[in-house]
Symmetry: C2
């Protein structure tokens, strides 16, 4: 499995990026393409910010901040302190080094370059051998209907710290958005050996990717096996609001609910050894493994589990 | 002189800002209005940068960097290092704290606020009691014809480090630019007691202010005395390209040439004790004083010299 063809990984931020890094390290150079959710993207302080792309860039480049799960390591915060003095908005924390990504990306977007092209240049400059693609170069914006009304994603996620109860999630622009061309081509490529749905939040990190026009059908039609990794371990999310959102939307908070969420799309589901392998009401093949990725060895081991599971599941 | 009325100071960056700070400290709160050159303003990395306004903001707030003469003290440089990694332009150095000024100003300008209004808010938040005004809210751009062709100001000043020989200087947009309304009103205000032309580069810091539509005539007509301070001491500029530019434009490099440059506009000229008080071919009254401002006491002493000179020179 690791010797031929390429692997396509669909990912949100933190948890997804950890597995993407594991895959990148165990696969040959150039054999991994990571597609990032851009539904969280927004404009803040006049800057175009792509949180999941950035987390993937920093994680794959080995310059991520392990303490926060977002932003860069060895970061300084002089900008935020000065901005506060000037009365600027400080609810979204932008480190000084991180700011370079946003300022330079914004400048290049305004000059007419695509998000794909800028991202590809950034990942090369950061020494990343995996391809990294936004799910689309067209804007898709995740919005949430909550018990406090409609909220833009970052208003909900950062400013309100996921406190409001979620009633509904929409991906504005997704139906009209074109999949990033290399992403679309990859799904029909004979060399595609595996699609991995990373252990990201299915509702706000993976669903936006699936909502981009044609992606769900292309995934169903793609000849390569599709393997998803559960982001839920023993009824809890490792990080973030996945469990809380699932409960608010009336879903059981367990790995089986995630597997059912992906029903019809996936060929294999990797659950934590605490939860599986058998899952109630789940007909797809399951593989139990340690899914908590604390060390680099954990990331690589889980990546190998995913690749092996796929090897046994050719469509 | 220090008890009544207000003082209007015309200033560029470093040298002008030092005297502006001295004036601010010896005058009663609110008795100083500083008008800044905005001919150096430019857009860089998508950010609206106003170098002289910023130097004045930082200097008057006591957060300027005494080592460089521009930017903020206790600055960090994480942004520039990260930008370089991403292949961004790094010839114009932007500190992390300084960046907050540019990002927030750019955001507010794009939202439709005037440069005046933003600057006034910034100076209040930084605890500056003096009013600080851009010479105009309309764009004026200093450009230089050099032996390497036409250069935008920052290309000449920062990127080329003033190396090309200057043949001609123009202030694009100045003839159509309206003076900032409070600036225009101040020049006709009965409470105006004194206009100070700070020891800034006459050719690229003061001339752009004088070039704004109506300013030169308003200054000639204004009832208050106008006092200029020489930026040249013993044939040399304290900092910057003043001397080099004067020579390239065929002017003698001495204080007298600066006084003649302001002929018809000023009522009194303050020269360094190394140069005066008598100046060849200069008919305006001159006062000799120590004009080098190394310490805070130097700034305050020179400010008092300026105020006293004016007191003896009512029009």
């Amino acid at each position: 499995m690791t010797g031929r063809g390429f692997v396509l990984a669909l990912s949100g931020g933190i948890g997804g990026a950890k597995l993407a890094l594991g895959l990148c390290r165990v696969l040959p150079p150039g054999a991994l393409t990571v597609v990032a959710n851009t539904g969280d993207d927004f404009t803040h302080l006049g800057l175009s910010i792509s949180p999941d792309l950035d987390t993937l860039l920093y994680t794959l480049a080995g310059i991520d901040n392990p303490a926060t799960g977002w932003g860069r390591r060895d970061e300084s915060w002089t900008f935020m302190a000065a901005l506060e003095t000037l009365g600027g908005e400080t609810w979204f924390r932008l480190g000084d080094g991180d700011l370079a990504t946003h300022v330079e990306r914004t400048r290049r977007l305004r000059a007419g370059e695509s998000l794909s092209s800028i991202t590809d240049d950034f990942r090369r400059r950061l020494g990343i051998t995996a391809r990294l693609l936004p799910m689309s170069d067209d804007p898709v914006r995740t919005r949430l209907l909550t018990d406090e009304g409609w909220l833009d994603f970052q208003d909900y996620f950062v400013r309100r710290r996921c406190a409001p109860a979620v009633r509904k999630i929409v991906f504005e622009g997704a139906a009209a958005a074109r999949p990033q061309p290399q992403f679309r081509a990859a799904l029909a490529d004979d060399d595609l050996r595996l699609v991995v749905i990373c252990p990201s939040n299915p509702l706000i990190s993976i669903d936006p990717i699936l909502a981009v026009a044609g992606v769900r059908d292309a995934l169903k039609a793609c000849p390569a096996p599709v393997v998803a990794v559960s982001p839920i371990i023993a009824g809890r999310a490792v990080k973030g609001p996945t469990a809380k959102m699932m409960a608010e939307l009336g879903l059981p908070v367990d790995a089986a609910a995630v597997a059912r969420h992906y029903a019809g799309l996936i060929d294999c589901f990797i659950v934590d050894e605490a939860d599986g392998p058998a899952l109630d009401g789940v007909e797809v093949a399951t593989v139990a493994a340690r899914t908590l990725m604390e060390s680099m060895a954990d990331r690589e081991t889980l990546a190998r589990v995913v690749l092996n599971a796929a090897g046994a599941r050719q469509r």
